[in-house]
């Protein structure tokens, strides 16, 4: 008897993974700073979760890295995911934002990247790197 393929057809997720979105934004930071700064996404697992930490990196400053925020989602599902970050300087509570789609993720990233705290850190690293 001829063996049949017993596997079903698999649906391929049309959306990008959160990590792919973060990596894409990491690349955009390089472009925005004329490659003076870069960004890195570091992934680890904890229990049944994937954790992606987003770092800004200053290659001219001995590859100094600053963790801006991190996101957590289940290994088998991209959404819902949570973003953890400090919205303001000296804010004692880490804000956790629940995200249910890639569109919501992009909006949240826009908010984080444009937050005064983030802009201040990047400006400081940029000027110190350029002074090297």
């Amino acid at each position: 008897m001829e063996m049949q393929n017993l596997w079903p057809d698999f649906a391929i997720e049309p959306t990008k993974s959160p990590k792919a979105i973060l990596k894409e934004q990491a690349g955009y930071l390089m472009a925005k700073t004329n490659n003076v700064l870069s960004a890195d996404v570091d992934t680890s697992t904890y229990q049944n979760n994937l954790i992606h930490k987003f770092y800004v990196v200053a290659p001219a400053m001995n590859n100094y890295r600053f963790e801006v925020f991190y996101i957590v989602h289940k290994i088998i599902n991209f959404y819902p995911l949570s973003i953890y970050w400090y919205p303001e300087e000296n804010d004692p509570y880490k804000e956790s934002i629940e995200i249910n789609s890639d569109e919501e993720l992009i909006n949240a990233l826009r908010k984080i990247f444009n937050a005064p705290t983030t802009v201040k850190i990047i400006s400081s690293l940029l000027s110190q790197s350029l002074a090297e």
Partner: protein, 273 residues
């Protein structure tokens, strides 16, 4: 042989410049690490340097606002490697040619995070520190700070947390295998700071609350030492500071005088090279 005197203090968002200066001068501190310091570094530096320009500013590259580090050596010898809003990892290069990593941190607190969240935060930070060690190929590492956990709590002892042991002999084994994965130890000497046998206080932080289980005294302020640096740690130097040398930091009931000073007591230790 040379020595490095290290002081960590969570100053509870209070201007404790006078007390800091008194301790730093009376203990001849080389590395001063402050958490929740509201005072500008310049103001602090001026107060510290009244007898001469002995202390240097926090490294200007540092973006970690929760931790301030002032040193008796220039900041170019204590370079930030990796930071977040709650921790700073520094690479210290001593004039003797020796180097090591020093991480100062302030972990999430019990009033805003439950024990499971603290446990998870411990795993994330421990993993981050391990990755930094691997990236720099340096396993000489000291971690100090306000962990907001006691040395016996899960996040402090579990293999995929800080993996801190109370025994330097156990830590000297280097690491432990758990389910085919190797986890390096930290030696946590702060286990020995519980109780009042040789001192007036039983921990670094006092908190009384109306629950059936209440330790009242806690040792949230801790130092963790990787096995390769145990020989640099002067064991009998580890001390909870109870006075700034002029004024007691305690109330008449021998608990931290949080009204006037901080709710945490400073932690002191010495390294030898």
């Amino acid at each position: 042989m040379s020595f490095l005197n290290v002081l960590f203090w969570n100053v509870h968002k209070k201007d404790l410049t006078t007390q800091i200066v008194n301790i730093v001068h009376s203990r001849d501190i080389d590395i001063l690490i402050l958490a929740e310091n509201p005072v500008s570094q310049i103001h602090l530096l001026q107060a510290l340097n009244v007898k001469g320009p002995y202390y240097f500013l926090n490294h200007p590259l540092s973006q970690c606002k929760k931790i301030t580090i002032l040193t008796k050596f220039h900041y170019t010898s204590i370079v930030p490697i990796e930071e977040g809003d709650r921790l700073t990892v520094r690479h210290i290069n001593l004039p003797t040619g020796e180097d090591f990593l020093l991480t100062a941190l302030h972990m999430v607190d019990k009033s805003n995070f439950n024990s499971e969240s603290q446990n998870e935060a411990a795993s994330l930070v421990a993993d981050q520190l391990s990755k930094v060690e691997n990236r720099l190929q340096i396993n000489r590492h000291i971690v100090i700070g306000d962990f907001n956990m006691n040395p016996f709590e899960i996040g402090m002892i579990k293999a995929n947390g800080f993996h801190g042991t109370m025994s330097s002999e156990v830590a000297r084994k280097g690491s432990r295998m758990v389910q085919q994965r190797e986890y390096p130890y930290f030696y946590n000497p702060t286990w020995s700071l519980f109780g009042d046998l040789n001192k007036a206080v039983s921990g670094t932080y006092y908190y009384q609350h109306a629950e059936h289980v209440c330790y009242e005294w806690n040792v949230f302020d801790q130092v963790l030492i990787r096995p390769d640096m145990i020989n640099n740690f002067v064991k009998d130097s580890l001390e909870i500071i109870q006075t700034d040398g002029v004024t007691s930091l305690l109330t008449r009931r021998n608990v931290p005088n949080k009204k006037t000073f901080s709710d945490h007591l400073p932690l002191f230790f010495r390294l030898k090279f």
